[in-house]
Symmetry: C2
Subunit: 149 residues, 2 copies
């Protein structure tokens, strides 16, 4: 496993990362706004362009890119991990019924990290904030099909 130190220091310049075709397409897949695909969803998509890409490669890249600070790994809900492009601060709403995940615009919450710093002796690096609830479709009527992405 890559160490955390890498994650901490490597923020902007991905040192020593090669831009392979696989890696580029994986990144492209995460560029579409509002998407928070699972590793398998990324795999299925990229496979349409590189039919013999392996799931292991996808996992390895998602990990490496996440360590390099280029993407973010999300731990939302009980299922698989999800990934999104780390562009600007925003948070997520998660429908507990259908699993859909939506973005909420960047926080009107003041600086959460600052407050956390004042309350612990941890070196605060960041945070994950996820709301849970029912999306419009699920609360209005019959539950929607589970949304894979």
């Amino acid at each position: 496993m890559v160490t955390i130190m890498n994650k901490v220091q490597a923020n902007a310049k991905p040192a020593g990362l090669r831009m392979t075709r696989q890696r580029r397409l994986i990144l492209e897949e995460l560029d579409a706004p509002g998407r928070h695909p699972t590793a398998d969803a990324v795999y299925q998509q990229v496979r349409r362009r590189i039919p013999n890409i392996s799931l292991g490669t996808v996992y390895r890249n998602l990990e490496v890119l996440s360590q390099a600070g280029m993407i973010r790994k999300l731990h939302i809900g009980s299922g698989q991990k999800r990934y999104d492009r780390k562009l600007h601060k925003h948070y997520h709403v998660h429908c507990v019924q259908c699993g859909r995940i939506s973005d909420l615009p960047g926080g009107p919450f003041g600086d959460l990290e600052e407050v956390a710093r004042g309350n612990s002796d941890f070196d605060i690096i960041g945070y994950e904030l996820e709301f849970e609830g029912l999306c419009r479709q699920c609360k209005d009527s019959s539950p929607r099909q589970r949304e894979p992405n």
Copy 2:
């Protein structure tokens, strides 16, 4: 004396749950403040008192109790799920180095849910807020061993 256990049993009955020895000990395990054990950690502990309890039982109970709203299932960091007793609002700090999880006192953040309601058409039920950082030991010196609990 009036123990937490009494409250536990009182709470369990309305939910239509039977208070088995296994379930009681699992709940006791989560009563210790500041703990956020994984399913396996709970299993290891309870096993000292019920040597032949099965891991499946632990998982089933954690799920049932979580559904009943008596405990909370956490999705922190990359590893296993963790569980804590749902007593009052508080947040967690997660050391990305050693994995330790600490509580932060209840929020000085205002009503996060209210703000989220104003920003989406979801029915907001709740939220999970976790900070990430380095704990004192990890930032001061050599990384600590990964903390299983």
